[in-house]
Amino acid sequence: MVNKSIELDRIPETPLKDQLMRESAWKANLDDCMVCGKCLSVCPLAGYEGFDPRQLVRLVLLGREQEVIDFDGIFQCTGCDRCTYVCPMGVKIGNLITRARGMRPNDKKPGKAQLTCELHRDKGNNMQIVTEEWLETLDWMREELEDDVPGVTVPIDKQGAEFFATINSKLPQYHPDELQDIFKVFHAAKADWTMPSIWWEGTNYCMFSGDLETWERTLRMQVARVEELGCKVMAYTECGHGYYATVAGYEKFNIRPKFEVTHVVSLYARWIREGRFKLDPSRNPDLCTLHDPCNAARKAKMNGYPDIIDDARYVMDAVCSQWVESWPNRENNICCSGGGGALISGFKNARMEYGKTKVEQLDRTGAKLVCTPCVNCYDGIGDLAQHYKRPWKPIHLWRLLARAIVI
């Protein structure tokens, strides 16, 4: 990747560089790079098959952006943005990666990176779940829950409800039982909420495939649905990138919704503070640790959006008998190795290789459960546990909370 010379007599077209230099929403400050190497020292992927974030910056600056666009490493990147976080000069390598992915023709994007966005756009969710099937799943889960939580309801498309809940489509598809935890939490909090029959998707992979057009379109479709129902708050349930793609996307595409977006972890904390739940932490006896999802922690914080760093800890204190911090944590945390669309791009070997530091970090905690308030992190950490045969396993925060709630 590095051994070609630059032809000085030919000035290349550099659309990627131009976007990163000129578009205010995507400004990457590439020319401020002083080659200090901090980015590569904190990057889980750096060193794997020649991936070097610092080199990507140089290549784009030198007009060799095509080499970056054609390089599969940009799709192996988990988008954790540690590089951007430690950069002393504010170079936004994350922006570079997103826009470089967007420059790759759709049919040349690896794995399901692009397909996922198109399904989201065409079907309202990326798992192609039709409304009938969705409503059946909701009802089936509600019925099963009724034994434990008598009188539990799941209001569908309730006009004027305070909270509009989003759901990561992996839940109905692969872990429908986890829906019960969410129902139980909203029910016990006596929240005025609704589950939409369409545009409930709580992910947005367009941010990861770099498909800005579809990203904006899907956001606008969902905004229209929330406004149609007249909800005051979009309660973004545990999906880090979906939350970030929403709040950051609204700003990037200048979308001004008539409602607020709140990460559900902040709602848990608010409801606990208000004394809405009777909690019994002894129902979560196993030693637990907390994984801060990159998107809802570091990326939200450094870009000025509400993060869940403190709220997640407040909830952990209330619902677990015992839990320990992992290190590094909070905005310095290490990626689960499943972020950035890496889970759907089909680079499992790469993920397992650069997940090693995550494994070491979790091993040092001695915990049995790794609480991840993010469906992607849940799968990322689950894959690492399975691959490296580790004694810990992931768990969502809604499950810890739902277990602790005494009805």
């Binding site: 080659v35 901090k38 020292s41 904190v42 750096a46 002393p88 000069m89 590094p328 310095n332 070491e360």
Partner: protein
């Protein structure tokens, strides 16, 4: 020469009035130099020091001599101290601070009071301690309040507080000063790394400046360590080396074969995969690949930051502070005047400076103030200490 220097608003009365004609705040290497030079010009000087000792950071700086002097300037402060403490024209007050500054250029009234810290007092000069508040008329004020070394615990990924094997250049210097360098590393260990620019050159965290001295400090420390333990394998991770005086270049060239210099400064220090030691991810110039390197000790070359009290001081004295948090010069690069006429800045309170630069800046302040009117000065030749 002195006749050509303009002395705005300075009158004979002021010169002959009061207990001290010029107030110098800060008894580090810059303040000592300013006091000494101004006294040589014929001024009477009141020198304030917040601590119980004079000398500032330079007083705690260990001599870096190996088989020969490495010109670190640490000893120069001793000469200055001897001369300042024995000069009848310089009145010294330790554990004292400047609280208010009324009036204007040529006719200030400085309010000084005991600093109220419990720092131990210099045994040779216990009578220097200020015991009661005073109001002192002064013509000019020189601020030389110095800096604070960067606290690496502000960068959690470096794990400074977590791992005993991660130290700062200040910590290693303290070991040398206390003659405990053998405790730095055990006989079984020999891999040492220095990381440059810790707390410097960080625009995102408000420190968009080079601290000027840390590259030279690390190279001298490395040489001192090698002198004690020739078997050490020392790596210096740098962004770009600021070894910018010609005398230092020779020293640097000599060290190039003995120390491994690697471009790129890791931002995260991890424990070794197994056993003791620390890991950093870097671009290895020998293999042309990114990978982990393991070291037994990692030394963080900390930069200079403004004192925590700089903003409060600036508010009390009505002075401007720069975006970097240091006191602001009225015209950077053109004199040592602060934003308030009659108040001058010397040394690291205005910009990161090494010892030699601090001395030169203090002398420049004295030259800018010039000699008092109607006083025959006994001028000693200006002498910069240390040549780099």
């Amino acid at each position: 020469m002195a006749a050509e220097i303009e002395l705005p608003g300075l009158t004979e009365e002021v010169c002959m009035n009061g207990d001290g004609d010029i107030l110098v705040v800060g008894g580090g290497v810059a303040g000592l130099t300013a006091a000494e030079t101004l006294a040589d010009f014929g001024w009477r000087v009141l020198l304030l020091e917040k601590q119980g000792h004079l000398g500032g950071h330079s007083h705690h700086w260990a001599c870096m001599a190996t088989e020969a002097c490495n010109r670190c300037s640490a000893c120069a402060v001793c000469d200055r101290l001897r001369r300042v403490t024995s000069d009848a024209r310089i009145r010294i007050r330790t554990q004292a601070r400047l609280v208010t500054l009324e009036g204007s250029d040529g006719a200030f009234i400085a309010g000084i009071e005991p600093a109220g810290n419990s720092d131990s007092v210099c045994r040779s000069h216990p009578n220097f301690v200020l015991t009661a508040a005073e109001s002192v008329p002064v013509a000019k004020v020189v601020l030389a309040t110095g800096f604070t070394p960067f606290d690496p615990s502000e960068l959690p990924l470096l794990n400074y507080e977590r791992f005993g094997a991660v130290m700062s250049t200040v910590d290693v210097d303290d070991l040398i000063l206390q003659n405990r360098l053998t405790e730095f590393i055990t006989q079984q260990e020999n891999r040492v790394a220095f990381i440059q620019c810790v707390g410097s050159r960080d625009r995102e965290r408000g420190r968009d400046y080079c601290s000027q001295f840390c590259c030279k400090t690390s190279i001298r420390l490395a040489r001192k360590l090698l002198f004690e333990r020739p078997d050490l394998q020392i790596t210096i991770y740098y962004i770009d080396l600021q070894v910018n005086r010609k005398e230092f270049r020779t020293f640097f060239s000599e060290m190039q074969g003995k120390i491994r210099f690697v471009q790129g400064t890791p931002a995260e220090i991890l424990p070794a995969e197994q056993g003791p030691g620390l890991r950093v991810k870097v671009f290895n110039p020998e293999t042309n690949q990114i990978g982990y390197e393991t070291h037994d000790r990692v030394v963080l070359a900390v930069g200079q930051t403004p004192n925590a009290g700089t903003r409060r001081l600036a508010e009390r004295l009505n002075l401007a502070v720069g975006p970097d948090g240091f006191l602001a010069l009225a015209e950077p690069g053109r004199g040592a005047r602060s934003s308030r006429p009659g108040v001058y800045l010397a040394g690291a309170c205005a910009r990161p400076s090494d010892m030699a630069d601090s001395c030169l800046q203090a002398m420049a302040v004295a030259a800018e103030i010039g000699a008092p009117v109607n006083v025959t000065a006994t001028v000693r030749p200006l002498l910069a200490i240390g040549s780099y």
